[in-house]
């Protein structure tokens, strides 16, 4: 196929699409907790430091890899020469990891739709926390509802993606991400008026160096890697839609700093709400689908606040999910010379199928009824662990592909830098030695 590759219309579009992809469900349900537990301001400082040392260089590398090759993840790795032809495996790994991530992501985002509709139809009114816990259990046990929302979420995303890079991803990322930013900012302003704001501010921002230990260090390392949605091939794919003259260094710096800033803003929006009602800090499903519905219901303007919160959640999820599916779509289009339309249908259908076990996990139709007894963990937890490992391995692959398999000249051309550019020099050292080292540290900490 000799079709010309689509490129982003504007730099702003790139910034919105990549930030939108980076800020997702994880930013909402995990990051605030990690920051607070890790020592607030002290942790933020570490997180910021690691973002500059680790996240940013890898981010630049992913974008650069895509931009240089102007191909999909699978094709790029397939064409890098290597002993034992190991490199192509990384491309395959990216596809598998993306399927696994997109599988559960579609399901959980679907829960967001369910809760948005509940908020809109005032179904939260006059409920206690235990009511919300019961409702969530009831909901998770209903296979048909989980599948319904998952299907709707996947279909909406695919409708956007089938319109292409400019008219689909770029246009809707711009729309959704600006709305997301407005919502976060609006709700943050609202949160500053709440009683719990002082406590939350102290928890999130006040530096508590006593809490810094080996564990929090590793947590900050991991966070800096994965809040930029690195290691999934998304940024490689988005980079491959960049035109020649694009300045990756600058764009990546803007995006990573704003992602950190917005993440902190989100923490300062969520925790005041839950602290106002005396809840302990928490993370995960329980925070988003049990505590937050209850808390928003108690606040003044309850229906509006809960509706806005779940709208925010869906926008965050949509822009992230778009990036995941695009990895698959771009690869399918090249691997099988499919049209974008067909590739979108298969990517959507595939991730829907992969998500089914998650959707039906607690229902009567659970396809793996003995899973818990065999693995001693839930299907979701096993899923998370496998994904974590895949991200680590893929990140290492990126370091090799960019740090060692691309020549200095190729890199300078990709980044539009002069050979005596200091930023470039620092980056190259980081990506060749420092980043792989830190990724290995994270990997070893997983092993124990």
């Amino acid at each position: 196929m000799t079709m010309r590759r689509e490129h982003w219309r504007s730099r702003l579009g790139i910034i919105f699409a990549t930030s939108g992809s980076a800020i997702g469900l994880g930013t909402l349900w995990k990051l605030p907790y990690l920051v607070g537990q890790g020592g607030g301001g002290a942790f933020i400082a570490l997180y910021l430091l690691f973002t500059l040392l680790l996240g940013l260089p890898l981010f630049i590398a992913e974008l650069g890899l895509g931009k240089f090759h102007q191909k999909s993840v699978v094709k790029i790795f397939a064409e890098i020469p290597s002993p034992l032809s190991l490199m192509p495996l990384f491309g395959v790994l990216a596809i598998i990891a993306t399927f696994l991530i997109a599988g559960w992501y579609g399901v959980v985002s679907g829960w967001g739709i369910n809760y948005l509709i509940m908020a809109l139809t005032d179904a939260f009114a006059h409920k206690t926390t235990s009511d919300f816990a019961t409702i969530f259990t009831e909901f998770r046990h209903s296979g048909s509802l989980n599948l319904l929302w998952q299907a709707i979420f996947v279909v909406i995303t695919c409708m956007i993606l089938s319109r292409g890079v400019r008219n689909g991803i770029e246009r809707y990322s711009k729309l959704f991400f600006s709305l997301l930013f407005l919502l976060v900012f609006g709700l943050f302003i609202y949160a500053t008026t709440l009683d719990g704001f002082g406590q939350a501010f102290a928890y999130i921002v006040y530096p508590d160096f006593a809490k810094i230990n080996r564990e929090t260090l590793v947590a900050a390392l991991g966070l800096s890697l994965f809040t930029l949605s690195l290691g999934q091939g998304i940024m490689v794919t988005y980079g491959s839609y960049m035109a020649k003259e694009e300045d990756i260094f600058q764009t990546a710096l803007i995006v990573s700093l704003s992602v950190v800033a917005i993440s902190i803003l989100i923490s300062l929006m969520i925790f005041p709400m839950i602290f106002t009602f005396g809840f302990p800090p928490e993370s995960g499903e329980g925070l988003l689908f049990i505590t937050m519905p209850y808390v928003t219901e108690q606040l003044p303007g309850s229906m509006a606040i809960s509706t806005l919160f779940f709208t925010l959640l869906i926008f965050a999820a949509l822009t992230s999910y778009m990036g995941q599916l695009e990895v698959l779509i771009a690869s399918f289009m090249e691997m099988f010379t499919w049209t974008r339309h067909r590739a979108t249908v298969f990517a959507g259908l595939g991730s829907f199928l992969v998500g089914i076990p998650t959707a039906l996990m607690l229902s009567d139709a659970n396809p793996y009824p003995n899973f818990q007894q065999i693995f001693h963990r839930s299907f979701l937890e096993v899923n998370y662990i496998v994904i974590d490992w895949m991200l680590i391995v893929f990140s290492l692959g990126i370091c090799v592909a960019v740090g060692y398999k691309m020549s200095r000249g190729e890199l300078l051309r990709t980044f539009n830098r002069d050979s005596d550019d200091m930023a470039f020099g620092i980056w190259r050292v980081l990506i060749r030695y420092v980043v792989p080292f830190f990724i290995l540290v994270v990997a070893f900490s997983h092993i124990g």
Binding site: N114, I117, M118, L120, T121, D122, A123, A125, I135, E138, F139, H141, S142, S144, L145, L148, N167, R171, L175, G301, S302, M303, A304, T307
Partner: protein, 449 residues
């Protein structure tokens, strides 16, 4: 060449038919009575003219000047790639969601036509009739069969096109509806409960009129005119260039008010005559009324006539909503009219299935436990939200975003009421959006009375 209405009467009757649907039958009379009767009706009429009419004219202009379906209408008058097309899509989605439940409930109407025809209510008490309705609701396959019949009726008419299909049949059904309604209301005037009903509905009881009631009158004025479903816009897109938009809009609004009041004046004397409390919804139409008819003279005829009327009201409304979806697909160049009709029918059928198959063995047995409402109630609440959002953005689009010369051209061509243009624009730019925002704020519990 785009088809146009073959006569002004055809357009007016189709539009009035689209505005008077199931909601006008089962919700409006009750809302009127509960909120202070005459006082509420006066407000309803005032809002119809100050808020409903300006937006109605606006939607007709947007439709006629673009000569396109909902999404294309917004894209025609906005920059390429702008997000206004989303408002158009949301409009199409609201029609689709409404049709989902509409076709199932209209299917119940068909079932009740058959029940009346076979005199099935004979000698039954109110409770027995209620019980057989509940039994009927539990039979998913029966519900689905009648749903399919109703969808097939729509498909048959839609395939004939605009003037030979929608216009011809709407003309027949809407005039039939008015004749039957007038006949039934005259009959109702002779009933013993008429005085009580007239008092309940018409006597202006200002103490029952709360701030909430005022906003409800506002909401009703907006949505009984079938605004924001895209129906007005789409029907407007088939208007001839020289048609007098302000004038025909006023005809439609007047006919709609007249019919709404007439329906209330027909139904309440009947139920008051047998000592029932005012009620609304399924219970009123499918439980109480069949029993009441059974007690009246000529019971079988009255029941038959009433449920036929219900069916006509539903069909003229569903045709308009179907046309919104069909015209949208066709004007986007996505498919031919024939294919679009079938695609719309399939989508509507699927969306209705959770309502046809309800209860413990239905599609979503856990729904009421999670949402606190049935699937149908939840979808109605959701639709209400989509409608206010669409109404708001449509108003903003017509009032502020459309090029001034297109807007004035649409208003002025063919009319002698050109001097009203300034007033219309002021209302559309200020009062209408503020009114819609108030309705939103009240629904979001942000303002309390």
């Amino acid at each position: 060449m785009r088809e146009t209405w073959s006569s002004k009467l055809g357009f007016v009757l189709a539009s009035v038919g689209s505005a008077i649907g199931l909601g006008a039958m089962w919700k409006l009379p009750y809302t009127m009575g509960q909120n202070g009767g005459g006082a509420f009706i006066i407000l309803f009429i005032v809002f119809n003219f100050l808020v409903g009419l300006p937006l109605y004219i606006g939607e007709l202009i947007l439709g006629r000047e673009s000569r396109k379906g909902v999404v294309s209408a917004f894209t025609t008058f906005s920059d390429k790639g702008s997000s206004w097309s989303l408002v158009g899509w949301l409009t199409a989605i609201s029609s689709l969601l409404i049709l989902g439940w509409y076709c199932v409930v209209a299917g119940w109407g068909i079932c009740y036509v058959f029940l009346s025809l076979t005199d099935a209510f004979h000698g039954l008490t109110r409770d027995e009739i209620g019980k057989s309705f509940d039994l009927f609701r539990q039979s998913g396959t029966l519900n689905m069969s009648f749903q399919l019949i109703f969808i097939a009726l729509n498909v048959g008419i839609l395939l004939k096109g605009l003037s030979q299909g929608i216009e011809k049949w709407s003309k027949f059904m809407t005039s039939g509806l008015f004749i039957v309604l007038i006949a039934l209301s005259i009959y109702a005037m002779q009933l013993p409960g008429f005085a009580e009903a007239a008092h309940y509905l018409l006597y202006p009881n200002f103490s029952n009129l709360t701030g909430r009631g005022v906003l409800q009158a506002l909401g009703l004025a907006l949505f009984t005119l079938s605004l924001a479903y895209g129906a007005v816009l789409t029907y407007g897109s088939y208007l001839k260039k020289d048609e007098d938009i302000p004038k025909i809009a006023i005809y439609v609004v007047l006919a709609n008010i007249f019919a709404s009041v007439l329906i209330a004046v027909t139904i309440f004397p009947m139920i008051f005559s047998f000592g029932f409390a005012p009620e609304q919804g399924e219970g009123l139409i499918f439980k109480t009324l069949p029993f009441v008819f059974e007690q009246l003279q000529g019971s079988m005829i009255i029941a038959l006539v009433f449920f036929t009327l219900l069916l006509f009201a539903a069909l003229t409304s569903s045709l308009a909503m179907f046309e919104v979806i069909v015209a949208n697909f066709v004007d986007l160049g996505m498919m031919s009219r024939k294919v679009a009709v079938f695609v719309a029918a399939v989508l509507v059928f699927i969306l209705g299935l959770p309502i046809a198959f309800t209860g413990e063995s239905g599609l979503f047995p856990a729904w009421p436990k999670i949402f606190g409402n049935s699937y149908m109630e939840t979808s109605n609440l959701l639709i209400d939200w989509i409608l206010v959002v669409v109404a708001f953005f449509t108003t903003i689009f017509i009032g502020y975003r459309m090029a001034a010369e297109i807007r004035s051209d649409g208003f002025l061509s063919g009319t002698k009421a050109g001097f009203l243009y300034g007033l219309w624009l002021i209302l559309l730019r200020t009062l209408v959006p503020v009114a819609i925002l108030l309705v939103m704020a009240q629904r979001a519990n942000l303002v309390q009375f």
